[in-house]
């Protein structure tokens, strides 16, 4: 018992944990205190609904509003959970621009007793929380108004929660790579996390089955953990609908989970190595405190 207690004490007093905790708290303050709670709530509702509505209108225009077709929940739920991709990746990577160019504190953070990769991961927590609001709001809207067939009693909750957790960690690690890239680039007119998320939309099978892609592009989708993550989330929520699509039909839930965990581990190792490498170059070239504006 005392061994566990001392291990926990060591963990909670470690630089890594303190960096994560303080970064998460700081990130939340930055994300939420720019306005009053009412405006913040409206902001949190309009943005995700508008993004989903683009696809809903596109679908509705072509199918004359046939929301009972199985492809609709496939598209809708994939798109709803895909919001995590942009949120988490942006949360981790945008912290570099925020601290380097807006608050101009990045160099002070670098010289403080802070574990930089863990600090950046912690900064992503706030976006994960706001992203969660967006996902819940989007799904609720779909269930209430667009006939998305979601029954809380039929949801495979253990599979859903495990998949969600592994996926979010995987996204944060990809965000770390983007943070490394951001250390090397100027501030652009967009957020790198959102831009990359927008582009990966194509390969992840989020809004259409991978069979729609040309055959030579499909391997990219199969190599991405996001593809398996979204499939697991869909299967846990609307099992029969998701399993009807042939993309990953030959895999059981357990196999998909194993692939997701395996790919996440690979991405985790890669992201750690790539971030360290880019971070070293940024330090070497004196880019830690650069400001860019044109």
């Amino acid at each position: 018992m005392s061994v566990i207690k001392s291990s926990l004490d060591n963990l909670f007093s470690s630089i890594g944990w303190r960096s994560f905790r303080m970064a998460a708290w700081l990130g939340w303050k930055i994300e939420s205190n720019w306005t009053d709670p009412f405006l913040f709530a409206i902001y949190s509702i309009i943005k995700p609904l508008a993004a989903s509505a683009i696809l809903v209108v596109m679908y509705s225009v072509i199918t004359n509003g046939d929301f009972s077709s199985p492809i609709f929940p496939y598209i809708y739920l994939g798109n709803a959970f895909y919001q995590y991709v942009g949120s988490v990746m942006t949360g981790v990577s945008w912290a570099v621009i925020d601290d380097r160019e807006h608050y101009r504190t990045l160099k002070y953070i670098y010289i403080a007793p802070v574990h930089i990769p863990v600090y950046l991961l912690g900064r992503g927590v706030a976006r994960f929380i706001t992203g969660t609001f967006s996902v819940i709001i989007t799904i609720l809207f779909g269930v209430l108004f667009l006939k998305v067939p979601l029954d809380p009693l039929l949801i495979n909750w253990p599979l859903f929660l495990v998949s969600l957790l592994v996926g979010v960690i995987m996204l944060a690690l990809i965000g770390l790579v983007l943070a490394g890239v951001t250390l090397m680039t100027a501030q652009h007119t967009f957020m790198i996390g959102d831009a990359v998320a927008g582009s990966l939309f194509l390969f992840s099978g989020a809004i259409f089955p991978l069979e729609v892609l040309p055959a030579w592009l499909r391997p990219v989708g199969f190599a991405m953990p996001i593809t398996y993550w979204l499939e697991l989330l869909r299967r846990s929520l609307v099992g029969s609908v998701a399993e009807a699509f042939p993309t990953l039909a030959r895999f059981t839930n357990l196999q998909l989970l194993a692939i997701l965990v395996g790919l996440s581990l690979v991405f985790g190792v890669l992201s750690s190595v790539i971030f360290r490498w880019l971070d070293h170059i940024a330090r070497e070239r004196g880019m830690i405190d650069q400001t860019t504006n044109y």
Partner: protein, 279 residues
Amino acid sequence: MLPPIRKKSTGWRLFLRTIAGRAYPRVIGQQREKSWMFFEIFLPLLSVAAYVFVYRAIHAPEEYVGFVVVGGAMTAFWMNVLWSMSSQLYWEKETGNLALYIISPAHMMAVLLGMALGGMLATTIRAVVIILIGSLLFQVSYAVSSFASLLLVFILCMTALYGMGMMSASLFLLLSREAWHIANLAQEPIYLASGFYFPIKNFHFWVAAAASIIPLTLGLDAMRQLVFPSGASLGFLSVPIEVGVLVVLSVVFLTGARVLLAHMERLAIQEGRLTEARR
């Protein structure tokens, strides 16, 4: 010691030199920072491709693919107006440049015009590349009914859009950190309301009419009517009416920008907000 200024610029000469001076970093800065080519051309192209495949997944008629390619290219202009025009003065305030603009003899309207022209030029290159590559990749076929009308619509659309950007930039002059969030909020809802990926004719008439306050809505609709064979049947209003509305919007937004800028600048000076940086 700096050499004395031998020939002082005043009046129109100063105005034009300010425009060129502010446009310069926009154009040249982007050439020096090559990463934008990857982030602002390649990645949006993949995003456009995703919407194309959604249409293919639900067996949409092929002309919708063309709608997505053109709409996807035009998103570059909205992003530019939003982030590099509207919220730019807030950013200039944060970096300390805004006070320098005000102190200098340059006219703020010229500063904004310079930002607009520089941004427009760089963004046009991006949009053209997206259209070219997107059209080749997805074999989009165009049937331009009138190049002159197309050019007129594009120029009017850009004038009204950047006029709107200049007007909102003056409003953003009073804002602080919330400016960034408001700009962020105006992304997806405008993609939706302006029909970047579908014809706005599908909306209720009054919804489409309300969305027409954003110049890209009618500009995009008119351009689609002029470049796609089935465009006219999917258009919201006839092209001449849309051109007329774009002319009105251009005049309103440019005049509004001039009036609001003067007012907001005075207000910002009175309230001491020009150098404020609420972190």
